[in-house]
Amino acid sequence: MLPGFDPGIVVESLPVLVRGALVTLQVSALGILLAGVLAVPVAFARLSASRAVRGLAFLYVDAVRGTPLLVQLYAVFYLPPLVGIDLTPLESAVLALGLNGAAYTAEILRGGIVALPKGQVESARSLGMTQWQAVRRIVLPQVVGNVLPALTNEAASLLKGSSLISVLAIIELTRAGHQLVGRILRPLEVYFAVALLYLLVNAAIFWASHRLERRLVAYR
C-alpha cells in the first residue's frame, strides 16, 4: 500500500464520516428535489410567449450559470437576513443548491421539450386535455425519460456541490473529514475514506438512474 497508509485508521474514522455523509445525503436529496420542482416552471417560462417572462427566466438561468455555487451560497446565507428573513444554515444550503440546480435542470428540460414533436401536445389538446394535463401526462414523462442521463449528471453534480455547504459550518461529509484530519493528523487515510463514501453515494445515484431509465423508456 501507500507509504504510511494504515487501513485501521480508515475503519476507525468511518463512524464520524458516515454521520457526515448522512447530512450530505439529506441536504443533497432536498436540494435535488427543490431543483426538480423549480426547474419545470422555469423551463416553461423560458419557452413562454411573453417576452417579459422569457427574459426574466433567461436572466435567472444565465446569472446562476455565470457565477460559482460558492458565491451563490454566500448570497443565500448573507443576503436574506438583510431584509429580515432568517434562515438556518441548513435551509440556506438547501435553498442555494435548489436554486442552482434548478437553472441547470431547466435548461436540460427545455432542450427536451423543444425536441419533442409539436403534434404530441396538439393531439392531446384536440382530445380536450388542458395545457397542464398535456404537460403532465404527455410532455414531462417523455422528456424526463429522454433527458434522464443529463438529469443524473446534474444530480451527481449537486451531490458534489453539497461539499461547499461546509463553509456554512454544516458538518457534512467534507467538513467532517476536514475536522478529523485536524484532530488525528492522518490526511491520507481520512480523505481515502471520505472519497470512498462520496464514490459510494455517486454510484448509488447512477444505479438508481439506470433502474429508473429502464422503466421510463420501456416503450422504445
Binding site: 455565470g66 457565477t67 460558492l70 448573507y78 443576503l79 461547499l164 467534507t174 480523505y191 471520505v194 462520496y198
Partner: protein, 220 residues
Amino acid sequence: MTLDRELLAEIWPLFVRASVTTAWISALSMAIGLVLGLLTALARLSPWRPLRLVARGYVELIRGTPLLVQVYFLYAAAPYYHLTLPPIVSGVTSLSLYVGAYASEILRAGITAVHKGQIEAARSLGMSYWQTLRRVTIPIMAALVTPALTNEFTGVLKWSSILSLITVPELTYRAYQVIAESYAPIEALVLSGLMYWALTDIVAWGGRVVERRVTRHLSP
C-alpha cells in the same frame, strides 16, 4: 438594500486584480488540464490494459468526488510528505487534475467519433501515429468537442472559486474578505458575481468564435 458607493470605489480595484488572478488561474488550469486530458483519453483507448485501468481509475476518482475534497487533500496531505506547496500551486494542481479528468471524457468521445477510415487513410499514406493525431484526428475532433470544452472552461472559472478556501487570493476570496471585515455582503457579492458573469460570458463568446472557425468545413 442600497449599495455603498464609497465602499464600492474602495474595493473595486482590488476586485479587478482578483478577477485577473481568477482568469489566469483558470486559463492555466485549463491548458494543463487539456494536455492531461488528451493523454488520459489516449491512455483509455490504449491497447495495453493496465494503462487503460490506471487512466480509468483516475477519471472515476476525480469525477466521483467533490473538487473541494481534492483541494483539501492535496493541500493538507502534501506537508506530510515533506512537500510544502504554496496555496496557489497546490490549487492550480488540483484544478488541473480535475479538468484533466473531465476533458479526457470529452476528448475520448471526440476521438472515437473520428471515422476509423479517416485515420487508416492517413496511416496508409505513411503518416506516423503522432502525425495522424496532429494533422487528421485533432482537427476533425476539434469541431466536435469545442462546445463541450468551452463549457468546461466556463466551469473552471467557477470552480476556481473553491481555491478561496485554501487562501488563494482570487475573486471569491476577496469577496469573502469584504464580507467578513466590512460586513458588506451586498457590495461584495454583487461585484464579484458580476465579474464572474462577465468572465464566463467572455469565454462563452470566445468559444463560439472558435467553434465557427473549426466548423467552417461543416457549413455548406
